[in-house]
Symmetry: C2
Subunit: 492 residues, 2 copies
């Protein structure tokens, strides 16, 4: 449809008639049919869209406001207003007396080539063909205390003063810092002064914050455990720090390579090493702190699963031994849900100001309501109840896994079983090599990771070493996964 000859001045609009191509006025018709109070806006939106998509090309002359109004059956004022608005925004240009034109300013958006290259970090538990996923790292998300969390949110929304909804303290909500300091002192032997505790978006942000601060202080590299978490290298790389793999033995970091590496910072998991599951010996804990003092360095203690101990008293945090050399970090990712992105760091005095300033420029501080809800839950004892509940459930699952391994893989040994959400299973060479084992498991719909995937060592004893996460799986699923892997292997 072109502007019809139904109005007296339509003939004054050459582009609408003479361009040959059909101008896109029909795009505007639905807008003209909008309810009266929405009509002006709808018309503007339709015009904007037509310019943007190129259906009204740059240089196209628009019909006079009177002509367009008549064609669309709307008031002339509505069209005039739309022309003025879009002229102000730069979509149209107006030469007084000679008409209104589509400006050359607009560029259309390129179509996205794909739905986006960045897949979510966590795949859903059942990826294609996988029916039992033993890969570690996820707690049982169904244990999240939804009702308690909703209640905590409702309570804090009823109680918080208005100013608590303003820009937060970049260190974290004072009430949460106090509650966490008491919790960490009590449960983990951390020396936790609320003024040195910074609330952050989980352990990943703690690593990033510390990485930036170390970089500012002249550090060029950070040591990481080998085997260890592959995530650390990527986080530190983003802050400009290299990572250096430092070999472990059954007691902790080996002293000689640490001393030879020329570093002044390391990341460790001394209470339940990830992934090997060992607890560092007291001697190695002391060695590490001696090293830190000697080189004037820092230790990042990632207490990623410090909340879950099954058979013995928890090993207290390394931080308690030297709060001026150890940065302690933990989160609710295993105890509540990773989706909350809620964690904490306890800092040496020398680092507090820089870390807080970095946190401030990164996001101005953590969201206030989640902080208040967690503070409420910690203070009221609900957080401890949640930890006890998870601990019971996870111990039962660990026991199911150990029983299934013993039954279906005679000769297998499991280590790192006293704590955490995963164990290391060592299967004698007759079950290997690892590639054959994993292929058999995959054919049974069972996903597994080997210890070798987490480090540089390639042991030559032929044993199959698996890092088995069990916390997110029901006991019957655990048993089925182990059994089906054994059956698939046996039938090869």
């Amino acid at each position: 449809m072109t502007p019809s000859g139904t109005t007296s001045d339509a003939g004054a609009d050459p582009s609408a008639r003479d361009s040959g191509a059909q101008p896109a006025w029909e795009l505007l018709l639905p807008a003209a049919g909008a309810p009266a109070r929405r009509r002006g806006r709808a018309l503007q939106e339709a015009l904007r869209e037509a310019v943007r998509t190129g259906r009204l090309a740059a240089g196209t002359r628009l019909p006079s406001s009177r002509a367009l109004a008549a064609d669309l059956g709307v008031s002339r004022g509505l069209v005039t207003e739309a022309y003025e608005q879009l002229t102000a925004e730069g979509y149209l240009r107006s030469d007084r007396g000679s008409g209104t034109w589509v400006s050359g300013t607009v560029r259309t958006a390129r179509a996205s080539a794909s739905p986006g290259p960045n897949a979510p970090v966590a795949s859903p538990p059942t990826a294609s063909g996988v029916t039992v996923d033993f890969r570690p790292g996820t707690p049982d998300l169904s244990l999240f205390p939804r009702t308690a969390w909703a209640t905590a949110q409702r309570t804090v929304l009823a109680e918080l003063p208005h100013h608590a909804l303003g820009y937060p303290d970049p260190r974290g909500l004072p009430a949460l810092r106090s509650a966490l300091a008491a919790l960490l002192t009590r449960r983990r032997g951390v020396v936790a002064d609320p003024d040195r505790l910074v609330v952050c978006s989980g352990v990943a942000q703690a690593a990033t914050l510390l990485g930036f601060v170390l970089r500012e202080r002249g550090h060029g590299a950070v040591g990481v455990e080998d085997p260890g978490s592959p995530e650390h290298a990527r986080l530190f790389a983003a802050t400009g720090l290299k990572t250096v793999w430092l070999p472990l033995d059954e007691e902790g970091l080996r002293p000689a390579p640490l001393l030879a590496a020329g570093l002044r910072a390391v990341v460790v998991t001394p209470s339940h090493q990830f992934p090997s599951g060992i607890a560092w010996s007291a001697q190695r804990r002391g060695m590490l702190l001696d090293w830190a003092r000697t080189v004037d360095g820092y230790v990042l203690e990632d207490d990623y699963d410090g909340d879950f101990r099954y058979d013995r008293a928890p090993v207290g945090a390394l931080q308690g031994l030297d709060p001026e050399r150890v940065v302690y970090t933990g989160s609710v990712s295993k105890s509540l849900a990773p989706g909350l992105r809620l964690g904490w760091m306890v800092l040496p005095e020398a680092l507090v100001d820089q870390v807080v300033e970095r946190k401030r420029t990164m996001d101005l501080g953590h969201p206030a309501l989640d902080q208040a809800a967690l503070a409420h839950m910690v203070r009221g004892g609900g957080y401890d109840r949640q930890l006890r509940h998870c601990q019971r459930v996870y111990r039962e699952r660990r026991d199911a896994l150990l029983a299934a391994l013993e039954k279906h893989f005679p000769g297998a040994s499991a280590t790192g079983i006293a704590a955490g959400l995963h164990v290391i299973a060592c299967l004698p060479a007759r079950y290997g090599p690892a590639a054959r084992f994993l292929a058999a498991a995959a054919s049974a719909g069972v996903a597994l990771r080997t210890l070798e995937e987490y480090g540089t060592a390639r042991p030559a004893d032929g044993a199959v070493r698996l890092v088995i996460g069990y916390a997110h799986l029901a006991p019957t699923v655990i048993e089925a996964g182990v059994r089906r892997t054994a059956e698939a292997l046996g039938s090869r």
Copy 2:
């Protein structure tokens, strides 16, 4: 209290008797009085604390387990367990046969010199002596829809699948990205593809994310408006970018200084410039985009108060004119609450991957439940209702401010009044100079900022130019603040 002679082997414990100083066993007594099921743990905590505080010094020999058990009136097994645990943690060392000693590993925490140097970003509205605070930047936090937010949280907690509680998509919850894309298209004329929208912790994080990405792409500096937000310089400095002040006139950035600056990125507030309140002219919008295309550069459009328009149709976002050159950013800080730390960026295709990866290493993505709650509120229309409600309230306050200025400061003019949460008041030279004016206001308990505080220009006309934030103040408070300032000035 020292180990008494009440047990047969207490004499085998020389340190407890011979050190001269009173060892700190009495510290352990409260632990011994704990309920039976807590007693072992309490004893360990007390011992740890004693070592840490230095009350049990390094090298101190501990009593035998039998002696201590008898003294404390607890079972010997409890003491043995405590010694073993603290030996494993490195607090104690044990020489088989010769006893247990406090290890030299432990360092005590230094006391914090002060309650922490980093004051919260936002001072409470009534700082000392200030009874009316006209400084801009804060919405009325009492307008936060607490009930609606609690309902949204409860609803999403009831509805979300478990996997939504896992590690989030670093781009943001898909449901929220879709809801925001539709909202921004409808309300702000943004070309918003959900795949190019990244949920972030407010506009501050958007600036930080973009700053890091520009740095990676070889940028060394970013242009900022003069006058403009002083916060931008600090955020970009943290990413390694310099900032260059670019002078504004009444139409927007002046072309010549922009073209001469040799930059490839600028941050602007074209819809309602902060702080001057102007809307950029269409010609300058076009000029800026031409510049960006010519230098292969980017424009960060900070739509910080795009939600609030009072007298005319909103000026559509600059981003709509060229989505491949403009990064659009906004947040709920003015519409809901800054404490939510919830905002968004809409990105050119060329920048999406780098920004998402940076967001990932910064915090692994935004907290999931707040995202789901906002998506619920946007989809259900509650967010639009909130915007309309705020708009009504803020318009009334703006009108109260304009009326008070007219009444108490005849000859004053106000600009930037069509939108936002603040206006610029220009008071003729007879009310100046600015220092005298501010002193009078302060003596009346009224806090104000001048336009000069936001930029480098120092106009010589003697006029007093004020940036007056009104959104967080009730009409009666606004009237009282203006009246009292006038009275204080008149009595000088």
